[in-house]
Subunit: 582 residues, 2 copies
Amino acid sequence: MVHTGACIAAIMGEGGSKKYGLTWKWLQVFKNDQDRRDLVTCGSAAGITAAFRAPVGGVLFALEEMASWWRSTLLWRAYFTTAVVAIILRALIDVCLRGKCGLFGKGGLIMYDVTSANISYHLRDVPPVLVLGVIGGILGSIYNFLLNKVLRLFNFINEKGIFYKIILACCISIFTSCLLFGLPWLASCRSCPSDTSEPCPTIGRSGNYKKFQCPPGHYNDLASLFFNTNDDAIKNLFSKDTDSEFHHLSMLIFFVTCFVLSIFSYGIVAPAGLFVPVIVTGAAYGRFVGMIIGSHSNLNQGLFAVLGSAALLGGSMRTTVSLCVIILELTNNLLLLPLIMLVLLISKTVADAFNGNIYDLIMKSKGFPYLETHAEPYMRQLTVCDVVTGPLQIFHGIEKVGNIVHVLKTTGHNGFPVVDEPPLSESPVLFGLILRAHLITLLKKKAFLRTPVPIGPDAFLQFSSNDFAKKGLGNGDKIEDIKLSNEEMEMFIDLHPFTNATPYTVVETMSLAKALILFREVGLRHLLVVPKVSGHIPVVGILTRHDFMPEHILNLNPSLTRGRWKRLRFRFPRLGRLIREL
Amino acid sequence: MVHTGACIAAIMGEGGSKKYGLTWKWLQVFKNDQDRRDLVTCGSAAGITAAFRAPVGGVLFALEEMASWWRSTLLWRAYFTTAVVAIILRALIDVCLRGKCGLFGKGGLIMYDVTSANISYHLRDVPPVLVLGVIGGILGSIYNFLLNKVLRLFNFINEKGIFYKIILACCISIFTSCLLFGLPWLASCRSCPSDTSEPCPTIGRSGNYKKFQCPPGHYNDLASLFFNTNDDAIKNLFSKDTDSEFHHLSMLIFFVTCFVLSIFSYGIVAPAGLFVPVIVTGAAYGRFVGMIIGSHSNLNQGLFAVLGSAALLGGSMRTTVSLCVIILELTNNLLLLPLIMLVLLISKTVADAFNGNIYDLIMKSKGFPYLETHAEPYMRQLTVCDVVTGPLQIFHGIEKVGNIVHVLKTTGHNGFPVVDEPPLSESPVLFGLILRAHLITLLKKKAFLRTPVPIGPDAFLQFSSNDFAKKGLGNGDKIEDIKLSNEEMEMFIDLHPFTNATPYTVVETMSLAKALILFREVGLRHLLVVPKVSGHIPVVGILTRHDFMPEHILNLNPSLTRGRWKRLRFRFPRLGRLIREL
């Protein structure tokens, strides 16, 4: 659902899909980076809201996990989205409860209701919860670790082509089904409780007491867990007064199976989520712990299951506030909040000691260039000069069309410094930064000059602001598509009007950490590096997101492995660093 | 509570109070701006947690309202704080419920519990809620407007001295008490309901049915509202099955009185909060609306009261997510969430059409230089040159002690550009930025040179990083305290090692909006403005927070009243702006 929401938002952000004729005029206003980012964030928030019926949790999750950086406007937009979703959702539930939409009608606003007016726990219940949190954190980090490894393997297989993809998916699914059908045979039959509201045993699709191979009047607890939808299984595990329903061995089996299966079923082509599987696994884990502790605690096993899911979620997702709220909105048990916060606190802390959160790992394994918000310590020891890589492509204020075409064809850069040289200025001066997309637009319009003379802002007359609007993914024009005659190649373009004359710049001696903060906080694409003493060269280089990537930096300075960066520590005395970093 | 928490945090941030000997060595680590900011934020979060027993709400409120800008680290820290507070709180409640702490023992984790398992509302209940939201928004903005005016008046009076302050406080309190005692006479006596758990009428301190002047068997509903603590009043208003307890006239009187009193009792020297009064007022307002609508809606008056508080809070505080969560944690009614979100959405939107949120207004009226996150439209039309004000004080790389002292004494600037001139460099070069505090430290240490020769980083040898640590408020040394002999005045200091050699700079032609984004996002104190063409002057000016203030800008360009900034719109063609703002 999260993914779906984000996708829809992304499509909207690109002004609808031309291919399918789904495009509107008013969507044009979204044709810029920021709005597109916000849209995607809001989309995922809406997705969570719809999936878990947790509007506030949706906002927070989107802000804590999705958004690269927070702005109050973004908060307001996300809130607006989720509020609308929540209200519509509530209205639909209202309609469905009147039985107007068949199977969909089930479930209210709260999915796994564990409300208990008189839940009581005391200080002596805290130690088990602490243990739960610690183990949950460790399990969560193991989960991330394994998922990461499996994903790399799957990516390797999937790259081999669509055929292998399908084979892989089939294998996993067959394996899964065999496991799910085979394992229940391990569990022994249990006699039905006398005081149960539901029919026992049940053979049908739903129901807590599955008959499976058992004689009448008995049920197979493991089967009852496996042969249910995830939601029913979670409801079942969270439920209060079923302490005797499951055998602790079958609970353990269920936990291990879920743990393994949820890892293996993620990376395949068939859509599989992260959230719900982790909740199920965590619930099983928590309930198992609850069974072991048994009567030594006031908390019943259902609450242990809730805390278990919290622990595992905290251990793998590593978000705090949003998880709190989501769990709160899922279970509607406010009295449990202090314990949930405690568990999340511990599990996150423990897990952070081992590896990063699951989304970062997935992004890394997929190779997205995601820029961390915080600067690595060794970055304080480097100057931007250390990471700038040449050769630097520079355009003159009035440039020959041929050169532009040649540079665009030979390099992949997206931004180029524009420099004025004599006779335009008495000394070389950095005029600004021009984007590849804009250059291509200029070439397409063929607004060329026969002689290298500057033209003023009336150069805009031939362009509409839409020409310079951000193109959708893949919709951008390629330089190869532009055909120019040799005569045109000899003509000139006055780049001045179309150049961003006030780009953000840093001096070459600035520490990398400081530059990263600027780059990250302001959300730049290009950062120009100017020399300390502006001599004959007005610009030293240009930094892009790629240049701030730890991998890139470590490649440039092999001596600088993360472990050994300390060797550099004394390149600047401590006080000097303190002052540099001001 | 919020204020208290923030204060404690601030004291910690300044490394304890030397005056009262409350200082620790480890608190030294907090002696920098960022940590101090974070501490205050966490402190206020803790305050809200303790006040409303709403840990998650506390985090969100702190982030949404207090924090100037968000970082995931800050979120984590705030979460940690509130989690700890929540757990301790829960433990104390646990202790108190065993009756070990006398009067404190009252109340559980949820303050105003309005849980209702089978609350049902349908589409036909939405219109009244919409009306509630709209009117609530209008009331909220009126509240802010009046509070602002009253505060200005009070500030004017309070400035006259302590005597006037006390007089003012006394007047308000006398006025309040008269009002509270006098008004109940307006209400007619009502006969006690037969089916009530509590004694009716009551004469004691607590209880819902106050006797006041009524004959036995009767109670005065207005008195029952007035002669209660705010908490009891809120509980009373939120309660479900008391639809017939109050007369709508006395509810109206109560609402108006609370509205007026809460405004007048805020600015006086006696401590008075904003949150609870607004909740009471809103509850009264909501309940009144509920009474008018009466049986036309499925929602009972208690829920209307909750929604009313939400509406008024949204209308005056203008926060969304945090309010949602706080109300959720106060009332523990998750099923009401969609309606609460809807109300907040509407009331905030309506109120934003009139004026800013209450905290901004208060900050303005107190004259704090708070920098808005978003740039005003007219800022796109101005360049940084338009707001830079001279005269600019520049230091040379190796400066005469006398000059430094003279400049520090004659100007109030906190940062000075350091420029190298021949013979140190062949042309004037901007070396960096040095802070007033650091200069004073240098002067105090008297590490002077007889001759103007540069010394290397070994200049640090005489300093510890503690000398350059951020001083507490008011603990900083004054330049006046430093006594120097005439001989010393003639000596030199090599500023190079102590200068921040890589300050953030912008070119003079950059649009003000763009510079503001840099200034705000990176959280700068000083921003150096360098010329486009670095000629004989390497630095044009220095921007501080003050220079970005709309008041300052409007003073500089009188033609540029907020209404008339549109006149400037075409200073740059639209496309040109689009490219400049990249």
